[in-house]
Symmetry: C3
Subunit: 273 residues, 3 copies
């Protein structure tokens, strides 16, 4: 299923404009390079429109937002929309502060996103105004489980329809939905949560996959989610004696670097609902 999406990315590349947080920015840049795309980071209001114009898509992440960068995000997002570029939102910590929730909502109202990717608490904050986020991690009460899977899929499809965006909800089970169809993805390991930035890296990957696959955005987003989860599995398999979370971080990016269309196809675990 995802072979074509990854082949397109490796073959055609993608230039990804990132306005992202300073915590995980280096890993985001390296994972974008690892998948065959190229990153550019730029957040000054005086250049974001120009920079985004030379790219194929824009990755907006509010992980360490401030007032200066929120304006840049909106300006770059609007310009990308005008140009028909792909735009992705990672509303890190939406619900954890009034500023983050307001910034995320303001972005949603001013910019059309191709994909919105977050944990269940962040997405619920955007969709319903509920406010259950704990810091930058999902509230355990919200977790997507076998039991509430169907209702969560319906929630994602409904929000997708309302927002006009593909909705990617990450967790033990990942959900990638448009208003009609939903990929249920079972790649990944809980140990990935012991590293900062795997979520931010995923948003970078999604943007790269979208750019390289303009006609199949749902598959492209789902392919990126599978690729990230599979890299988490492969990276974990490659762990040696005294490795811990810091080395695991490298091994995950390395796994994306060494992944190809065939290994992604073979390792992807998903169903469509």
């Amino acid at each position: 299923m995802f072979k074509e999406q990854f082949d397109n990315l490796r073959k055609n590349g993608a230039l990804v404009h990132n306005i992202t947080n300073y915590v995980t920015v280096n890993d985001v840049a390296n994972v974008i390079l690892a998948c065959g795309a190229s990153p550019i980071m730029s957040d000054d209001i005086d250049e974001v429109e120009e920079i985004t114009s030379i790219c194929g898509g824009l990755n907006i992440n509010i992980g360490t937002l401030n007032q200066r960068t929120v304006s840049s995000m909106i300006a770059a997002g609007k310009k990308s929309n005008l140009l028909g570029h792909k735009v992705v939102l990672d509303p890190v910590g939406a619900g954890a502060s009034t500023l983050r929730t307001a910034a995320a909502k303001s972005l949603l109202s001013e910019v059309k996103f191709d994909v919105i990717k977050g944990n269940i608490s962040e997405i619920k904050t955007l969709a319903t105004g509920s406010n259950t986020t704990c810091g930058v991690d999902a509230n355990i009460k919200d977790a997507v489980t076998g039991e509430n899977l169907e209702s969560t899929v319906n929630f994602a499809k409904t929000f997708s329809k309302k927002a006009g965006s593909i909705i990617a909800i990450t967790g033990e089970i990942d959900i990638v939905a448009d208003s009609h169809r939903c990929f249920i993805i079972r790649n990944g390991l809980k140990e990935m949560g012991m590293i900062t930035g795997t979520g931010c890296q995923l948003s970078g990957l999604i943007t790269a996959f979208l750019i390289a696959n303009p006609e199949t955005p749902l598959r492209a987003a789902a392919a990126a989610v599978c690729a990230m989860g599979l890299a988490g599995e492969t990276g974990y398999d490659n762990m040696q004696g005294d490795d811990g979370n810091s080395t695991y971080r490298n091994r995950i990016i390395d796994a994306i670097y060494n992944m190809n269309a065939e290994t992604l196809e073979k390792g992807a675990k998903y169903e469509i609902m």
Copy 2:
């Protein structure tokens, strides 16, 4: 001695708000995850009070301070004080510029810190107004040695009494003192100085240990200092053929990840004075 402190942290976790520099922020986040806690980074004046309210403690590091972030540090620190949260100061480079010294002093006068952690030059700058810092490293003339150990311990106890904070002075010998008691810690290796950010990581660890051990702050801070030093030793033991400082960085965080209460207890080298 430190078994209980690490057990509490692994068992109960800790949510740590960090206002820190952009050089070592990723390593700080990963080491906080490695010890069993969770990090959140946030520095905008419009959200720091809210973010710090949902956390258990606050780690302030002035490594790449600017005027925008100094205000945020003070606002977050005051809010944390009001809420009775743990607050840690890492006055990176205090003494190296008027701005840093002034910011550190301003923080000291506006915020009550549970722990102040720095190298001897930074701590002397805060305590005495002397100004001997060389960049972000301690002045060699100030180094804590066997010869001046007793006087340095007395200095730390006196400053602790004056500041109302536990004082942690890092160097070849580490000193962690309140006004009555002092831990002299001999863990760690000089090779740790060949990596950027081991000091910043330590401040993150101290905050996590304090949050999980509200009743035993001196022991908690000393446990964090021992843990960081021990991780430096273990990480170095794990070095292979062509490893250098960049891989050593990963191995140290990995060592925290793989450390438990028993290995910390066994590896801690300290005396009380």
Copy 3:
């Protein structure tokens, strides 16, 4: 040839002030430590002149510039000039946006640089006003090849004379020229482009080598370029089974850490033209 330059650096050290981007800043700090120097990062207008005064040189990198930091770069650069310190410019992405091109030109007109280091597109933007940069990577049409080598060398020498700076152009073949002489360097691997920040690291290394070798700036800059390329080769030789670009990043910095004057001398591949 370069033995003396590296020996001087290992023996005497160098304190490097960096005003650099937040994407690769951690790697820049670690590579500066790896070569035997010490980094300090500082970008606030209220302290950059003071910080640069205690250092031996200044490394300015516009990778994620904003209006706040451009002023700091100019102020620090002017102060460094006054003090006779070494100053290096890495005009990342010059040509990719009006802001970057203007900032780079403004820096050139206000500050005297000892070395300007960039890819061919960035350097052409500064030298000729042509605007062919694609994001932060060089335009393939500009690539330095065997065929256009002589004309590129002449271009570099001419621009060096005009700018009063050593010009370092990185690519498959690296060129380091003053107005009279040019080092043609054939170290390095194309795989280094799959990691973010090897160019930023090189600017840090160049600054460190310059500080430690005030009398032989052209050799010092060329030595740094050879060292970085050689580290790319050595790091690649040290790659194991499942390593990818993230681990490669560590292995390159590790290779600088383990490099000495003899191995640099032996591995350097260059001619003078």
